[in-house]
Symmetry: C2
Subunit: 333 residues, 2 copies
Amino acid sequence: MDKILLAHGSGGRLSHELIKGYLLGYISNEILCKMDDSAVISLAGRLAFTTDSFVVKPLFFPGGDIGRLAVCGTVNDLATSGARPLYLSLALIIEEGFPLGDLQKIMESMRNAATEAGIKIVTGDTKVVNHGGADGLFINTSGIGVIPDNTNISGANARPGDKIILSGTLGDHGVAVMAAREKLRFQIPVQSDCAPLNTLVESIMEFREYIHCLRDPTRGGLATTLNELAGQSETGMIIYEDALPVKNAVRSACDMLGLDPVYVANEGKMVVIAAPEKSEQILEAMRSHKYGRESAIIGEVTAKNPGRVIMKTILGASRIIDMLSGELLPRIC
Amino acid sequence: MDKILLAHGSGGRLSHELIKGYLLGYISNEILCKMDDSAVISLAGRLAFTTDSFVVKPLFFPGGDIGRLAVCGTVNDLATSGARPLYLSLALIIEEGFPLGDLQKIMESMRNAATEAGIKIVTGDTKVVNHGGADGLFINTSGIGVIPDNTNISGANARPGDKIILSGTLGDHGVAVMAAREKLRFQIPVQSDCAPLNTLVESIMEFREYIHCLRDPTRGGLATTLNELAGQSETGMIIYEDALPVKNAVRSACDMLGLDPVYVANEGKMVVIAAPEKSEQILEAMRSHKYGRESAIIGEVTAKNPGRVIMKTILGASRIIDMLSGELLPRIC
């Protein structure tokens, strides 16, 4: 057997063989292995709960694959509420004929990302659709995490005077996926930044009373994320073009493709909006984490222009940075 | 706008318009409306956590649609651990060009099922794939529920002597979907049994110390479910053909299509395996619930033949009922 058959989604014998023989081995743990219809976990307190489906094309790209993306995306969404991510669900929709070897590579990648993030995959589902009914493989992960006491982090909590910190360079993921899809060759290859950011967030949680918003700028890029936060918080935001970290290779690729890095998706970056009095300490803590080395303060929250994001350009002009309109890069995650 | 565009999945302005203008209104609640990347919920104790993707074809069928199915399927998986389902996530993968009117009908159906089950949809995700990249609409729901004290229900807990109770007729969902897909007309139309079974389970939870296994016989049908339970519990099982409730219309359809009702999917039925001393009381409680009126004791758990399910036929013979092999009815849920 080297390809997925429709019967692997029957719920019957072949489903069990696929799950027990090829999938479970990668992500096995004592909760998942009970094989009941729902996992039983013990938790108490305020929990974060989130879901994300992944339809990225192609499935493998420089710096990651759909499996790593599916773990990191949901881990990062949990981390944006300050939560410690603990448990994930995993639901696969597989197209008939999908190579089993690819599925195994993706499962291995999920295992590695789950190990890195310190989370367990505790419940799952596998569906198979007929050839042509889906594009290879779609993955959904949902996740649960525990929010520490004295944490009140929400997109609605930005306050005028807060500093906006970005954990690193913009646009790496979007450009890497785009290049892989269109088979573009750049002089300096661009790798996706896809990474689990929960330990980065944990490293600044000692300052949690000063952290107002956390959000990972994925689809729609930094521009869309800041517009969301400005809208939810009913504040304005100013960012400084010369403070935005962008790799040279990404900048060249964006120039060539007519893209603006502030609209390109990231999968391993976090926006932190924090009270000014602790922003330098938070920045320092972020810079000492492997996924935050290039962290920078990129702007601040204003009382003026509520709901709007304004960029001070290198040339000194002010430009309104709107939410992404239209679709720049479909199926980027 | 009457069709979904690729840009509705961009994460940008059109995504927000789709979500706020067309989706949120149906399932709105104070947690979901915060619009953060993860929902914050307060819970304590032993929790059930489950996930399910839905790829049913066609999306609308007599007795339900993919929306009702997506709520009920996950609610029922939570109920199989004895949990009270509380919160769902909702992730949509939509094909470019999908009619917005159909999406709204499906959202309405989800709202109605969620209201009936008493659960809230608290977090979500929307992806759009290019035309031809998916077959209309796929839905993932994940769910969280709270397990009451003194509950120890698992597929591994069946004991010799236990009674096997089934909550109603077999095969209604599978036959209804099959008929809709193939445009078959039966003399008596068959409706899917798709229903949330959490209140049925709640109605027997006063006997929870006597309830050993709960499972909803979906893909693979009753036969596959009992094989799973027999395997997990390392017991045998005997069922009596003449005790199996099957509607005449379903039986005729199965005869015509060459299907055996024990292998056909159900979406509103529960298998209850319980200690014999309370099985009559549990049966009585189930029969007084609207989704359990045709409940019946259909067999018992044996020490003999561990891992095997044997049917005593109407003619008095014994037949091994194996797990479903091959694929009977693809994309039934």
